[in-house]
């Protein structure tokens, strides 16, 4: 069992981080029309045969969106699932386009910060074993 799996999740710390950017991030999440028009602006979506998991909105909703919906009360299993979404499925190239003007990269970057605060991030040996690159 790795160091990442052993440490308990600090819910208070996550809640504190979520609360600091609540005004901006909750607006982004609540005004997202779930239209999927951001999809083709993501090269990973295009490269993965238009798999919806790679849509920018899908990534934001299923990482940061889930954290806000659960008010930070998440377990390590869920955080590990999010790790794949925000690191493997997104390279933060900043090319995603939202017709409403929602800044998706800042949401993914914020989700990464929260995960990193809980020691959840890709590790070098993991990268090679899971073929992340």
């Amino acid at each position: 069992m790795s160091h990442q799996e052993l440490k308990p999740v600090d819910t208070k710390q996550i809640q504190g981080m979520l609360s600091r950017k609540k005004g901006k991030m909750k607006r982004f999440l609540s005004y997202c029309a779930h239209c999927s028009l951001c999809a083709e602006s993501c090269f990973l979506y295009m490269e993965h045969h238009k798999d919806p998991q790679y849509m920018p909105s899908y990534k934001a909703i299923n990482s940061l969106g889930k954290l806000y919906r659960k008010n930070g009360k998440v377990d390590r299993k869920l955080l590990t699932e999010m790790k794949g979404i925000v690191w493997r499925n997104c390279v933060l190239c900043g090319r995603c386009y939202c017709p409403i003007g929602i800044h998706i990269p800042s949401m993914i970057a914020f989700a990464r910060s929260i995960l990193r605060s809980q020691d959840v991030y890709p590790q070098l040996d993991e990268v090679s074993s899971e073929s992340w690159l």
């Binding site: 005004g23 901006k24 607006r27 609540s30 005004y31 997202c32 029309a33 779930h34 239209c35 999927s36 028009l37 999809a39 083709e40 238009k50 919806p52 998991q53 849509m55 909105s57 899908y58 909703i61 386009y97 939202c98 017709p99 409403i100 003007g101 929602i102 800044h103 800042s106």
Partner: protein, 219 residues
Amino acid sequence: MLAFIRGQLISIAFVVFVLGLIFHFIQFFRLTRKKEWAYPPLEIKSQKKTPGQWVTSCLASLNGTLWKTYPVVTVMTSVFHVFLIGVPLFLLGHNMLLSQSWGLSFWSLRESVTDVLTVVVIVCAAFFLGRRLFLARVRAITTAYDYLVLLIAVAPFLTGYFAYHQWFDYRTVMTIHILSGVVMLITIPFTKLGHMLFFFLYRFLIGTEYSFARGARAW
């Protein structure tokens, strides 16, 4: 009860709608600040173009935009949003009621025109519903809340169409029409319906690569 729905409830809805929007406008300016930096303006001198070159450059500028990647959706969504706001504002029946109540009104479109435009809005909504149901990428991020929001947006148009054509019991349909309009007004500032208005703040005032204007504010 009916008198309350047709009277005070509409006023309450308008007050909640306006106050809700003002609250969010103020919050927007509190959450954003004036940008401290800006990209230097590009110094590109435009050359004189023949009409053919002008058309070609206009078409080329659409590359990479939604007009090129999703032309049908872009047309449908533009039409839907314009008429969703425009039709109720310039509807003769609404303006007559406004004139009776407050002594002021907008100019009105002919009833035959608004009747057709109402059908256009309903058709666009049906198109969005179809996307939600049958397109895998839209379905992947769709929740029951999305269907509810679509219903809230289109219900006043459906019931308004039924009422205008006097289908079903007129008084009942009219009451449902007013209630659906009230629900829509009240929910706009507090649900994702707010994107109709906040789109303008985000795309014009926030300075990003995709801004329509030279946005001077940053989050």
